[in-house]
C-alpha cells in the first residue's frame, strides 16, 4: 500500500466522520471481531454525542419542550449543518436559534412552537453571560471626566455578557416555568413585547424584564451611538436620566 500523506489521511478521515463517505476505510486496520467500519463508527458516534450533549446542556428548556428523541434528532442535524469552529466547546451552538427558526418554517410538527426560536435565544444569552469576561464596576469619575472633555460625543458600552432580547411571546415565563418543571400547554403571542436584559451577577447568569426606556437606551448603546445621539431618541430627558441611572446602578454599562 502506498504511504498516505497526513493531509490526505486527515481529509479522508474528516469526510468519513461527518458524512457517510468511507474512503478512509481502505487505510484502516480491522479484524473479524471489530472491523474497520465499526472502528470508524466509534468516532462518528462520539463526535455526534459530544455535540448533542453540549447543545442539550446549553438548551435544557428547548430539550425539555421538544422531548429527548426530537431534540437529539435536531441536534444531530445541526451538528452536520454547523460544525464547531472553535476549540472551546462553550462557544458551540451559537446558530441554534436561527436553525430552529428555519425548521419552524419548514416542518409542520413545529408549527405550534413559534416561540421556540426566541426561547433558544434566551437560553444562548444566559449561557453566554455565564461564560463572559468579568466586568469592572462602572467608573463614574472616568465617565464624568469624559463628559466634561467630549460632552455629547462620549460613547459608553454594554457590560460584558449583556444581551438584549425582544419577543412577542412570554419567553421569560416559559423559561421560568421550566426551571420549576411546570410546562405550559399553549403559548400565545402577548399584546406587548417582552423586553429582556440578560446579564451576570455574582457569577450567576440571570435576566430581568426591563421597561421601554431602559431597552431603548441599551439598544442605542449597543448600536454604538454617542450620548448626544442617544439623547435625541428620548422626548423627555427625565426618562433618559432615569434609565441611565438605572443601568449604571445595575452595572450594565461600561465606559
Amino acid at each position: 500500500m502506498n504511504a498516505l500523506l497526513l493531509a490526505e489521511c486527515q481529509s479522508k478521515f474528516w469526510s468519513a466522520l461527518n458524512k457517510t463517505d468511507s474512503e478512509i476505510l481502505e487505510f484502516v486496520c480491522g479484524d473479524k471481531g471489530f472491523d474497520a467500519s465499526s472502528r470508524l463508527d466509534v468516532y462518528r458516534t462520539t463526535a455526534r454525542s459530544v455535540h448533542v450533549s453540549v447543545l442539550s446542556s446549553i438548551y435544557p428548556v428547548c430539550h425539555k419542550i421538544l422531548g429527548d428523541d426530537y431534540f437529539k434528532l435536531i441536534a444531530k442535524k445541526y451538528f452536520i449543518a454547523y460544525p464547531s469552529t472553535n476549540p472551546d466547546l462553550n462557544d458551540y451552538g451559537e446558530y441554534f436559534a436561527r436553525y430552529i427558526a428555519e425548521l419552524i418554517d419548514q416542518r409542520y410538527e413545529l408549527s405550534e412552537f413559534l416561540y421556540l426560536s426566541d426561547l433558544v435565544k434566551l437560553e444562548w444569552s444566559i449561557h453566554q453571560a455565564y461564560y463572559c469576561q468579568n466586568n469592572l464596576p462602572f467608573d463614574m469619575h472616568k465617565f464624568q471626566y469624559q463628559c466634561e472633555q467630549y460632552q455629547g460625543e462620549v460613547k459608553i458600552g454594554l457590560a460584558h455578557g449583556i444581551e438584549l432580547l425582544k419577543s412577542q411571546y412570554p419567553i421569560s415565563l416559559i423559561w421560568q416555568q421550566h426551571q420549576q418543571d411546570v410546562g405550559l400547554n399553549e403559548i400565545e403571542a402577548i399584546k406587548q413585547d417582552e423586553l429582556i436584559c440578560v446579564y451576570r451577577e455574582n457569577f450567576q447568569a440571570t435576566y430581568e424584564l426591563v421597561d421601554e426606556h431602559v431597552y431603548k437606551l441599551m439598544s442605542a448603546v449597543q448600536r454604538n451611538l454617542t450620548l448626544l445621539e442617544v439623547a435625541e431618541l428620548f422626548d423627555d430627558s427625565e426618562e433618559l436620566n432615569s434609565a441611565l441611572a438605572y443601568c449604571m446602578n445595575k452595572q450594565w454599562l461600561r465606559i
Partner: protein
C-alpha cells in the same frame, strides 16, 4: 528543523505524589474541606474564559494546591495552522494559575478550522513524527514552557503506520524535547482495541521523559474498550501501574474521572490507593523484595 529552543522553561519535576482531576461538582467541597491531596489537574478548556465562576474556581484552587493544566484543543497533530488564539488563552490561564505542567494529547482534533472535540488518532510514520516535533517545538516556544503530550486511547490504527506507538512517542519526546504524559489506562485500552502489548509498552516507555501518569477507568463494550473515564481504575490497569512503579515510583500520578462523576470521596479513595501502591513498592524495593512480592502491593 530546530526542535530545541534553549529559551523555553524546562518543566521542573516539582509535582509529587498523587493528584486528582478537578471536576466542577467537587469544587465547593474541595474549597471548604481542603482535602489532603498533593495537587489537582485542571481541564484547561473548562477555565479558559477570562472571567466567570469557572475561572475563579481555577484561581482559588491554585491558591491552595499545586495545579497542572491539561488541554484538549491544541490539535497538535492537525495539518491545520496552529491556533494561536487558543494558545493565547492557554497562556492567560497559565498566568492566573501558575501550573506545574501544561499538557495536551498526541492526536489531532481539527481540520479546515472545524473542531471534532474528540481525540482523533494519527498514523505513526516518519512524516507524522517530523510534523508533530515541529509543531510541538513551535507551541513550546510560543508558550515559553516545555509541554507534555499524552498517549491517547484509540479505536483504530492505520495500515500505513510503520512505527510502534511506544517507539514513536519516545522518539517524539527526544526530537521535540517535550515531556510525556503517560496514560496507563490508554495503554490497556489499546491493548484490547489494537493488540498493542501493554507490558512491553510499560517496559519500553522512556521514564526520563514522563512528567505525569494518568489513571482512569474504561467501559467494556464487548468487542472493544471505550476510554470513558466513568469507572474506577480497573485491576489490570493497577497491575500495569505497579509494573511501572517498579521502574520508577516517584512519577506524579493523577486519577481522572469525567463521566458519571461520583462523590469526591470516591476519587479521593482511588488517589489513596495509588499513593499506597507507590509507598508499598518503594518500601519493598528498599527491602530487596522479589518482583513477585512487589507485584502484590
Amino acid at each position: 528543523m530546530s526542535a530545541r529552543n534553549s529559551n523555553i522553561v524546562k518543566t521542573q519535576q516539582a509535582l509529587q505524589g498523587v493528584g486528582v482531576g478537578l471536576r466542577a461538582p467537587h469544587v465547593n467541597q474541595i474549597l471548604s474541606t481542603r482535602p489532603h491531596l498533593d495537587w489537582f489537574e485542571l481541564l484547561a478548556d473548562n477555565h479558559m474564559v477570562e472571567g466567570g465562576w469557572a475561572r475563579q474556581q481555577a484561581i482559588e484552587i491554585s491558591n491552595l494546591y499545586p495545579v497542572t493544566m491539561h488541554c484538549v484543543g491544541m490539535s497538535i497533530g492537525s495539518v491545520d495552522p496552529i491556533n494561536y488564539e487558543y494558545l493565547d488563552k492557554v497562556k492567560s490561564l497559565a498566568r492566573d494559575v501558575k501550573p506545574k505542567l501544561i499538557s495536551d494529547h498526541l492526536c489531532w482534533t481539527s481540520l479546515h478550522s472545524h473542531y471534532s472535540h474528540d481525540l482523533l488518532p494519527l498514523p505513526y510514520t516518519e512524516e507524522v513524527l517530523k510534523h508533530l516535533a515541529n509543531r510541538i517545538s513551535i507551541i513550546q516556544d510560543y508558550l515559553d514552557v516545555q509541554i507534555a503530550v499524552e498517549n491517547i486511547s484509540a479505536y483504530l490504527t492505520y495500515k500505513h503506520s510503520c512505527i510502534d506507538e511506544v517507539d514513536f512517542i519516545n522518539q517524539l519526546a527526544e526530537t521535540a524535547d517535550c515531556l510525556i504524559l503517560f496514560d496507563i489506562n490508554n495503554v490497556y485500552v489499546n491493548q484490547k482495541n489494537s493488540k498493542q502489548n501493554a507490558d512491553d509498552y510499560i517496559d519500553q516507555i522512556n521514564l526520563n521523559r514522563i512528567a505525569e501518569i494518568h489513571l482512569a477507568g474504561f467501559e467494556d463494550k464487548g468487542h472493544y474498550y471505550l476510554d470513558a473515564h466513568n469507572n474506577p481504575v480497573s485491576e489490570p490497569v493497577w497491575d500495569l501501574f505497579r509494573r511501572l512503579m517498579l521502574r520508577n515510583n516517584s512519577i506524579p500520578t493523577l486519577i481522572e474521572w469525567d463521566h458519571e462523576i461520583p462523590e469526591f470521596q470516591k476519587l479521593f479513595d482511588e488517589a489513596k490507593k495509588a499513593l499506597s501502591i507507590k509507598a508499598c513498592v518503594e518500601s519493598k524495593v528498599r527491602e530487596g523484595e522479589s518482583c513477585e512480592r512487589i507485584a502484590a502491593c
